[in-house]
């Protein structure tokens, strides 16, 4: 029985030591508090009101605490120095509270804006957006009607190198509008109406028709061109797949400037 007593004491000692070593510290810090503060989604454009959504990253979207937001949102034009504190507009989607801040000052071509989102403890998330600049030149001018196989030159001038443009072209056919999405293009590109018709009417048998006659199939002569010109610091495509690779300091999301517009040119749709 001596050995039993010895082992028993040994056990008691081990449990005691183990419990002490295991420790009473049982706290857990589940958030990477120092890493992310806010997500920011929004863009500055020349058309309509500009809203920027700000979300506290440490609050689940469906929690009650998401109804209010501990943030002061400021926007400053770095060229003019004009600064404003944005006002929150709460929009609820299926019980999810979103905080969207409206910008009041007008945006200017080529200017850079800094967005600052500050928490009550002074910590900030920051992002900058530069508006695209330059001028758009389209040849021939709006007053001219072009033939179906003529070229239309679409050209941005005096823009920064990093600036990019996405383009979509539409024609009217069988009572509807048919779009040909060109995606991101060079700052200068050439549009041929016959090619646009060929791309926009994918299921239509055009091979037996002379390209010069393609435009005769259209309902009306309008060739609609929708473009979006992005600012030079508009994020790369990867940010849309991986939101964490954004350029928001102490946060994530997308913040940029862009110019959107739709222009029209006219083609000859008469049959020869």
């Amino acid at each position: 029985m001596l050995i039993v007593k010895r082992i028993s004491w040994c056990f008691i000692a081990l449990i005691g030591v183990g419990t002490l070593l295991g420790g009473c510290d049982n706290t857990l810090s589940p958030f990477a508090e120092d890493a992310g503060l806010y997500s920011v989604y929004g863009y500055l454009s020349f058309s309509g009101s500009n809203f920027i959504r700000v979300k506290d990253l440490n609050t689940p979207p469906t929690s009650d605490s998401s109804q209010s937001l501990d943030a002061t949102v400021r926007l400053k034009n770095l060229q003019t120095g004009r600064s404003e504190t944005l006002v929150d507009s709460v929009v609820v989607f299926d019980g999810v509270y979103t905080h969207n801040f409206r910008m009041r000052q007008p945006v200017k071509l080529g200017d850079t804006y800094r967005l600052t989102v500050e928490r009550s403890d002074g910590r900030q998330a920051k992002a900058t957006a530069t508006m695209p600049g330059g001028t758009l030149n389209i040849e021939p001018p709006r007053s001219d009607t072009v033939d179906c196989t003529d070229e239309i030159l679409f050209n941005f001038q005096n823009t920064r190198k990093q600036s990019s443009v996405s383009l979509a072209v539409a024609v009217f056919w069988e009572g509807g509008i048919q779009w040909d999405n060109r995606g991101i293009i060079d700052k200068s590109t050439t549009l041929v109406p016959a090619n646009v018709v060929f791309q926009a009417l994918p299921d239509y048998e055009l091979n037996s028709i002379d390209p010069e006659q393609y435009c005769a199939l259209l309902d009306n002569p309008e060739l609609r061109i929708a473009y979006t010109q992005y600012g030079p610091d508009w994020p790369a495509d990867s940010v849309f797949i991986d939101p964490t690779s954004s350029r928001i300091e102490n946060g994530l999301g997308v913040f940029g400037g862009l110019r959107q517009d739709t222009v029209s040119r006219y083609v000859d749709i008469s049959r020869e």
Partner: protein, 751 residues
């Protein structure tokens, strides 16, 4: 497969074919097949020592230990007169003189319970075989009662968690990780029938209560070719047959569950049945008794028919389990899973046959669901039917086991993710698997067990898996043993689970795609075991497992499960030591385990937010240090047991933030956005350490000649440690494991 690989494969397959040549018989000597059963209940006795000696001689000519069928074959015996001795601790030793002629003879022995056992406490006989060999732990039914369990009886699940190298991520969810292997890399067998998830949602319990278990082999690694379709470990559970001599049973009630067992002879001495069912009560009792909600429930039903004759033994086994409940405190998500297993096995050792052979067939189905309570959004399952043929042969004087397994499997999954869409797949797969294994007794000191597996399917390249187990006994006895196990392992399918979310145990099983390599592993285990003076045993073991092409989930920012897996490689290495003392009524064991688990995969594939091309991480079950102390003592009819467990903190992934993502040109006031949970560096932090003390007292009261009342009282988590289970990122709640949990349970036993 490259050319040398094909050559090796061809050679080994040729060897297999050679073994299958009919009529190749080397032995002109006698073969004695011995079947040992208990006179008490007619059940087979595993691990009984059988020796054959010339009358008057001290040294036996042949010796062996019975398998779980109570069967052992002594081969190459010169014809003549012999004294056969059959011994098993706790039973009277049987001795007889018999004459052996050339050919085969079957000898049945029924051992009577030893007289001192009838008058004292019933202690199950301890096998002559060592409980621990390299990579292998053999567990007897009686050992399960040493672990305090919240009643009414011991359970394999609680016992396993006291072994070094077995990691549980929490006391709910039924997830056990064995020597670095995830639950889907482990294979669970009940009487040879695969069961996908036998552990209940309350991790104290499994489908294997002490009352039903005869013995368990836990191969943490390095298992032979007899076992397939597992990358990491095998848990081989053998249920006992029903009592073939008399009817008996048990009714038990505790705060966690109620159970009923009945068994008895159908044809006395040769046929029996056993039926057991358990139903959890904790959902009803937790609130009133402890003030904590426990929204979990489970039940299981096990049935067994057994027949034992002079020339064969057969059994039919059916197991059905069902679990349901929420692992998270907010109860916003309900899991459920169901196992259905039905199959049979016959072992034929008829004298007229040169060989013994066994045939096994059955069905195993598993389905799991998760979703809002009452509305499952994700459903996945795996269903398999199979036929297994085994027979043994003698090749160059050594026994070889040959086996062929035919399997048809079906995999289905429907994943309906909010914001992401619906993902469905359905696959059917057939497989033929061939294996051989040899037990080569080189001399008194050295045993070699080479084995080999190959498998053929319609859409996956054939595989070759050579394996070797080696044991060296320096003094020619099992008092000390050095063991080595090496092998290559492949698994036809893999299980996918969102490892970021410990509160979600939903798993999708799927076979690899046509152009994907099979998950595979290499095991290397070296172990040493020493027994001292018959009451003290020490063992140490070191192991390494290299894993290849392990399916893991992508780190998508959207909440949910992507069923297209990413393939990762892994390294598991570690060591364990166990000291065990058993002297009369006293038992104590100390087990320590150290291990490290590392996975790595292409950063681009994983989608992890980290730098570098390859991302290396330690998954959630990487518990580095583990210490288990177990002790029990019997005094004046009372058995007191304690267990203390310590585990260092497991890795977890911190939350970077909750996002509502918008497409870049969506207007914030017009679109709600897509909910995303953005995680920090995967598994970049560790949870606090875990420790817990459990104890129990048990006492039996004899009411009548055949009726007894067992009373068990105790407590789980005696010092009420707030051990964390996981952090619920959806509700921002810390989910803890069981608090202090006192219990009192009763069991009325007829035997």
């Amino acid at each position: 497969m490259d050319r040398p690989g094909r050559l090796v494969c061809g050679f080994l397959l040729g060897l297999l074919g050679l073994g299958m040549m009919p009529g190749v018989v080397w032995a002109q000597d006698a073969t004695l097949r011995v079947v040992v059963t208990s006179a008490r209940d007619g059940g087979p006795l595993q691990g009984a020592n059988v020796t054959l000696a010339i009358p008057g001689a001290e040294e036996p000519r042949q010796a062996g230990a019975t398998t779980h069928d109570g069967y052992v074959a002594l081969r190459d015996v010169s014809p003549g007169r012999y004294t056969i001795t059959v011994s098993y601790l706790g039973f009277e030793t049987h001795q007889d003189t018999l004459r052996l002629d050339s050919g085969t003879r079957v000898y049945n022995v029924s051992l009577s319970v030893a007289t001192q056992q009838l008058t004292g406490l019933t202690v199950e006989g301890r096998s002559a075989e060592p409980a621990r060999q390299v990579g292998l732990e053999t567990i007897r039914s009686a050992e399960l009662s040493r672990i305090p369990t919240p009643g009414p009886e011991g359970d394999l699940a609680s016992y396993l968690q006291s072994l070094p190298g077995v990691v549980s991520t929490g006391d709910r969810g039924g997830q056990l990780y064995i020597q670095g292997g995830s639950p889907t890399q482990n294979r669970y067998l009940v009487d040879g029938l695969p069961v996908v998830k036998p552990f209940h949602i309350s991790s104290f319990y499994s489908a294997f209560p002490q009352d039903l278990v005869q013995s368990v082999d836990l191969y943490a690694g390095g298992f032979g070719a007899k076992y397939g379709e597992a990358l990491s470990s095998v848990l081989d559970v053998r249920l006992r047959p029903g009592n073939m001599k008399q009817f008996d049973g048990r009714v038990a009630l505790g705060p966690h569950l109620a159970s009923v067992r009945v068994e008895g002879p159908i044809d006395r001495g040769s046929e029996s049945f056993l039926l057991s069912t358990r139903y959890s009560l904790v959902e009803q009792t937790a609130g009133p008794l402890w003030g904590d909600e426990a929204p979990i429930g489970f039940h299981d039903v096990t049935g067994r028919y057994s027949v034992q004759s002079d020339n064969y033994s057969c059994n039919i086994t059916g197991v059905r389990t069902h679990d349901r409940g929420s692992l998270d405190a907010s109860q916003t998500r309900e899991h459920s899973w169901t196992n259905t297993v039905l199959g049979g096995r016959c072992l034929v050792y008829e004298e007229d046959f040169d060989r013994t052979f066994s045939i096994r067939g059955g069905y195993s189905g598993f389905e799991n669901r998760v979703g809002s309570p009452g509305v499952p959004e994700q459903v996945a399952g795996r269903w398999r039917s199979y036929l297994l043929l085994n027979y043994d042969e003698v090749f160059l004087g050594q026994p070889i086991d040959f086996g062929a397994r035919f399997t048809v499997g079906q995999y289905d999954a429907t994943i309906n993710e909010q914001f992401v869409g619906v993902d469905r797949f359905s696959r059917t797969q057939g497989m033929v698997r061939l294996h051989w294994s040899m037990d080569w007794n080189v001399n008194d000191y050295l045993d070699l067990s080479p084995s080999f597996v190959t498998r053929v399917t319609l859409d996956v390249e054939p595989s070759a898996e050579p394996r070797l187990r080696l044991t060296y006994q320096p003094d020619g006895t099992d008092q000390q043993e050095l063991g080595l196990a090496l092998g290559i392992y492949r698994q036809l399918d893999g299980g996918l689970r969102d490892l970021r979310d410990a509160g979600n145990v939903f798993t999708v099983w799927r076979p690899p795609l046509r152009d994907q390599p099979l998950p595979s592993a290499f095991h290397g285990i070296l172990g040493y075991n020493q027994r001292f003076r018959g009451w003290f045993e020490a063992s140490v073991e070191g192991y390494v497992k290299r894993l290849y092409n392990i399916p893991v989930t992508r780190w998508t920012p959207e909440v949910g499960l992507d069923t297209e897996p990413v393939l990762a490689d892994g390294l598991v290495h570690g060591a364990s030591a166990q000291l065990e003392a058993e002297e009369g009524p006293f038992y104590a064991s100390i087990g320590y385990g150290w291990s490290a688990v590392t996975y790595e995969a292409s950063t681009d594939d994983l989608g992890a937010w980290v730098d570098g091309q390859i991302f290396s991480y330690s998954p959630a079950h990487d518990r580095r240090h583990q210490l288990n102390l177990v002790s029990s003592y019997q005094w004046k009819g009372i058995t007191a047991s304690i267990r203390w467990q310590y585990g260092s903190g497991r890795p977890f992934t911190k939350v970077y933030g909750y996002n509502l993502s918008l497409n870049p040109t969506q207007r914030p006031t017009e679109a709600p956005g897509t909910a995303q949970t953005i995680y920090e560096r995967p598994f970049g932090a560790r949870l606090p350490s875990y420790h817990r003390l459990d104890f129990s007292f048990k006492r039996s009261f004899i009411l009548t000649n055949r009726l007894a009342l067992d009373v068990s009282a105790g407590a789980i988590n005696l010092y009420d440690r707030r051990n964390i289970f996981y952090f619920d990122a959806d509700t921002l709640q810390r989910v803890n494991q069981s608090p202090l949990f006192p219990y009192l349970s009763f069991s009325l036993r007829v035997d």
